[in-house]
Amino acid sequence: MSEEAKTRILEWVKQQKKTKHYFNDLCKAVPEIKMMAAKKIVNELVNEGKLKYWSSGSTTMYMLPSEGDVDKEEKGMN
């Protein structure tokens, strides 16, 4: 279940035009799963390096590793 949910979340993210996604939006990929359980799945994706955090300081969003790059961010290109 967890692996299948991870795949569906990643597929959903890859289909989006936006690069940054709220947690609530990721959960649209797995509507049958409670948010608290979905959080654990999303965290596993982060730990596996398949998603990563982007934080404004007040809000946190998620993005694919390929979408954001620290070097580019630090050069002001992101």
Partner: protein, 424 residues
């Protein structure tokens, strides 16, 4: 002292009688701190042009954590290369902010080695805020912070934020529960929520030991835990008489030690919001009408004390005025015993989180979700019984809505038939 950048506008901030952060930063710059040198130049440019030059946010962090580090970049790295990256680090403060000097020296030494050396003691959430470092320093800093100082990062982003408490029973005789223990317990219990984001937006706990609310929990926290009591205010009648006889200085001497005239009627009885007190040589309090404003206790601390059956009132939904204006939190549990392991309180918190996660919109604080979906929906989700103490003015508000499911026998309402009978 010759600095890299001229700072005529910042220099004005050194001229007042108060300590100046500009002088502090200049002192650091004079010792060869290049980040501080460029920080001064950047700030001078911002003051001159009346424009900020910081960009907040980014993907920087430490492994396994989704909070505690806030990326910050300067948009003029060509002019100020040493503050091109100036990330903020939030460190979870000890409960009630008790330190010894050894720890403070270690934090400062660590931050001079791994960052700008500039700190903010403390941020408004309570964290120790370490201002300004570069991405390559984050992991080494985190390792040394956790392994050598035995400290941890605080919360940021859509996480549970670093919980905060007043001094509680460590120094205050009015504290109705052990605020430090509650905060320490919440911090440990909800490590995952503190370090890994999962909410629609930030979520703050603050605990004040009594209704004086010294950490302003009612104004600043999504879940406010405010100490109270449910028995009677303790009265030492001999001390009341001593206040009246001007033998004891009122307010604990807070408005002057001299023994000025004290008028118990004008300063205590008439200022009681529910007028529940009278004095005819003996002070009488109608405790059923007491709203725990603390005024009488504050004015005559030797004579009056909170009761002995203590606990807390739980309120939810406060926030600062980012969206929709400021909001104070509302009572949802009028009284709860706050004793370890706080099982009843935690069961409530987890119901709140489940409901908010399922129903909250992105960047919507708990109080805004309740406002949008109604307190009634919130109470249903958290399995709390409605109570007049949840209503701001229960004696004046006639708009009580009953749910047919919760009234014995219930009723059915045919809206179409009703309109036919009331056509105008």
């Amino acid at each position: 002292m010759s600095l890299k950048h001229a700072t005529p506008m910042l220099d004005e901030l050194e001229k007042g009688p108060w300590p100046s952060f500009v002088s502090d930063v200049k002192r650091m710059a004079a010792k060869g701190n290049r980040m501080c040198e460029d920080w001064l130049g950047l700030m001078e440019m911002s003051y001159r042009d009346k424009e900020g030059h910081w960009k907040h946010g980014g993907i920087v962090g430490v492994l396994g954590y989704g909070g505690g580090i806030i990326g910050r970049y300067c948009d003029r790295p060509d002019l100020f290369p040493n503050v091109a990256h100036f990330h903020t680090v939030r460190v979870n403060q000890p409960a009630s902010k008790y330190y010894n000097t050894e720890v403070l020296r270690k934090i400062c030494a660590l931050w001079e080695k791994r960052g700008s050396g500039l700190t903010n003691m403390h941020g408004s959430t309570g964290d120790i805020v370490l201002l300004g470092t570069t991405t390559d320093q984050l992991e080494p800093l985190f390792y040394e912070l956790t392994h050598e100082l035995n400290m941890d990062l605080g919360g940021s982003g859509s996480n549970m934020r670093t919980p905060e408490s007043c001094l509680g029973k460590s120094r205050c005789e009015w504290s109705c529960f052990n605020t430090q223990d509650v905060i320490y317990d919440i911090t440990n219990e909800y490590q995952d929520a503190l370090h890994r984001p999962m909410f629609p937006y930030k979520f703050k706990f603050k605990a004040s030991g009594c209704p004086m609310d010294c950490v302003a929990a009612i104004a600043r926290s999504d879940c406010s835990i405010i100490g109270t009591w449910r028995d009677d205010i303790r009265i030492d009648q001999a001390a009341v008489k001593a206040y009246v006889a001007k033998e004891i200085v009122p307010h604990g001497g807070a408005d002057g030690r001299e023994n000025r005239g004290f008028d118990i009627k004008a300063e205590v009885l008439d200022l009681c919001p529910t007028k529940c007190m009278e004095y005819d040589g003996t002070l009488k309090i109608n405790n059923k009408d007491c709203v725990r404003c603390m005024h009488c206790i504050r004015v005559m601390p030797r004579a009056l004390r909170p009761g002995l059956d203590t606990g807390a009132t739980i309120l939810v939904g406060a926030k600062a005025p980012i969206l929709d204006g400021a909001q104070l939190s509302s009572v949802v549990i009028p009284f709860i015993k706050m004793e370890p392991p706080y099982t009843e309180f935690k069961a409530f918190v987890e119901k709140v989180w489940d409901w908010w996660m399922e129903n909250g919109k992105n960047r919507e604080r708990l109080g805004e979700t309740i406002q949008r979906l109604s307190l009634r929906e919130f109470l249903k989700a958290t399995e709390l019984e409605p109570d007049p103490r949840m209503v701001n003015s229960p004696r004046f508000n006639p708009y009580i809505f009953y749910d047919p499911e919760t009234v014995p026998g219930g009723w059915e309402h045919d809206g179409v038939a009703f309109r036919q009978r009331h056509q105008a």
